[in-house]
Structures are given as structure tokens and as C-alpha cells.
Amino acid sequence: MSLRPRIKLPESVTPGEIIEIKTLISHIMETGQRRDKDGQPIPRKIINAFRATFEGQDVFSATLHPGTSANPYLVFNMKVPGPGELELTWVEDGGAVTTERVKLNVAA
């Protein structure tokens, strides 16, 4: 699955700061409600879950439904506990997983 997520983080952060994390992943988010030109239902295929952890600790997660738009865009916050790595995971219907790891540039 080459979904190439885009992640936007502040360039540098300080411990204790509440930062904003923006993510976007390219995906059609096929609802399963549509029919093709022959009248056959188009099977559902969406990103059904997203999860953000920092050094193994849960920060934020999402269960997405077909009511979420194509190319799911998510913005959430994190209170920076200290230096570490942010792990972001997207799960597609069928179980394919996309994972991105980003090191936070924490000022001393």
C-alpha cells in the first residue's frame, strides 16, 4: 500500500508544549454505497483506523467510517512529554497498514 501520508509538525518544540499535528493520507474512501455503471455495488474500501502513539503511549486514535471524506485529513494535539518518536499508523479495510515514524525536535 503506497498511500504516502503527509504529516505536519512544528519545526521545534519544547517539553510541556501542546503542539498541533496535521496528517493527510491519499485514499478514495470508497463508501460501499455506490454502484458501478452496470449497477453492481462497489465494495467498501476505506481507511478504518488511525492511531498516534508517542514512545509507545497512546496520544490519539480515530475510527473512521464511510462518512469521512476521501483523503482523510486529521488534526489533533499532543502535549509533548519530552524527546521521543511519534508513530502514526493508518489501517485500511482488508488489514493493510501504513506506518510513519517522526522524531520530535525537542529543544532542551
Binding site: I18, Q33, F54, V59, S69, P81
Partner: protein, 161 residues
């Protein structure tokens, strides 16, 4: 003369059997009516709401729910939810649920937050099939639910067709 007589015998049995079946139908009918009295079959929104809330009742709370009043394209309607919460381990928002009231599938998204989230905030984009109310439920660490609601006018519906 024999024919009408036979017909008449069968007819009498039919009447008896028919009466029995009639009573049974009546009883079944009553049962069905009693179910109907509880309300019409739940729509997707009510089902989704019940699944999230169970037996708890949400109360209106400090939810800031930002959506456009008029969405030109129902395929991608931006929204943001903010809840006034200290986000400590003792008092935080555990989950935020976004539900459409008129989409064929009501659920838009559910978000789980932790004290590490720092702020009870989420922003994303949803599909809206037509003009409708959109409901936000926030589940607090105390187990309470608070609710917010906004109407979005949709010019061109999303959800494909």
C-alpha cells in the same frame, strides 16, 4: 345436489380452521402492533446513537463545534470540535463521536483521546448527503456524555449517488 353438499361440508371446516387461524393472526397482529407502539424502526442515526450511548443520557455541554453553515460540496465538509477540558488523567475527554442525522450511514468518525492529547480538539472532513443536523457527542472520563449539534446546509450532496 351432491356437489353443493360436499362443498358445504368442506366449507364448514374451512370456517372452523379459518376462525382458528384468524385468532392466531389477531394475536400475532397485536404483538406486532405492540412493537410498533414503541416507535418506528430506528433509523441509522438513532441506531448509531444508541450504540454509543447505551442507557446513558447526554447533557448539553461546552462543545465548540465549527462547521460551515453552508457547504457547497457535501463530499468534503470541514469541521472542528473543541471541548473545554483540563485533559488531566482525572478529568479528560475520552472520546469524541461525530454523527450525521440524515446520511445513509450515520457514523462519520469516532476519536479517542488521552491526557497526552493535551487539548480536547479534533479537526477533519466529512461527507454529508444533504442538508442536515450533525451531532457531536463527547464522552468524559467520568462516564458522562455531552452533546452538541449544528445544522449544515448542503448545496451538492456527497456520498456518491
Amino acid at each position: 345436489m351432491e356437489r353443493p353438499h360436499r362443498v358445504s361440508v368442506v366449507g364448514r371446516r374451512d370456517v372452523l380452521v379459518g376462525a382458528g387461524a384468524g385468532l392466531l393472526l389477531l394475536a400475532l397482529g397485536r404483538g406486532a402492533l405492540a412493537q410498533d407502539a414503541k416507535g418506528p424502526p430506528p433509523n441509522p442515526y438513532e441506531q448509531a446513537l444508541d450504540k454509543i450511548l447505551g442507557s446513558t443520557k447526554p447533557s448539553p455541554g461546552k462543545i465548540t463545534f465549527e462547521v460551515p453553515e453552508i457547504a457547497e460540496n457535501g463530499n468534503t465538509v470541514p469541521y472542528a470540535v473543541t471541548i473545554d477540558s483540563p485533559m488531566t488523567s482525572a478529568d479528560h475527554v475520552k472520546a469524541i463521536h461525530v454523527l450525521s442525522t440524515q446520511n445513509p450511514l450515520s457514523n462519520v468518525a469516532s476519536f479517542a483521546l488521552t491526557p497526552l492529547s493535551g487539548r480536547a480538539y479534533v479537526s477533519s472532513r466529512m461527507r454529508l448527503a444533504k442538508t442536515q443536523d450533525v451531532v457531536v457527542l463527547a464522552e468524559l472520563s467520568s462516564g458522562k456524555f455531552i452533546v452538541g449539534q449544528r445544522t449544515v446546509k448542503v448545496t451538492i450532496g456527497g456520498c456518491g449517488g
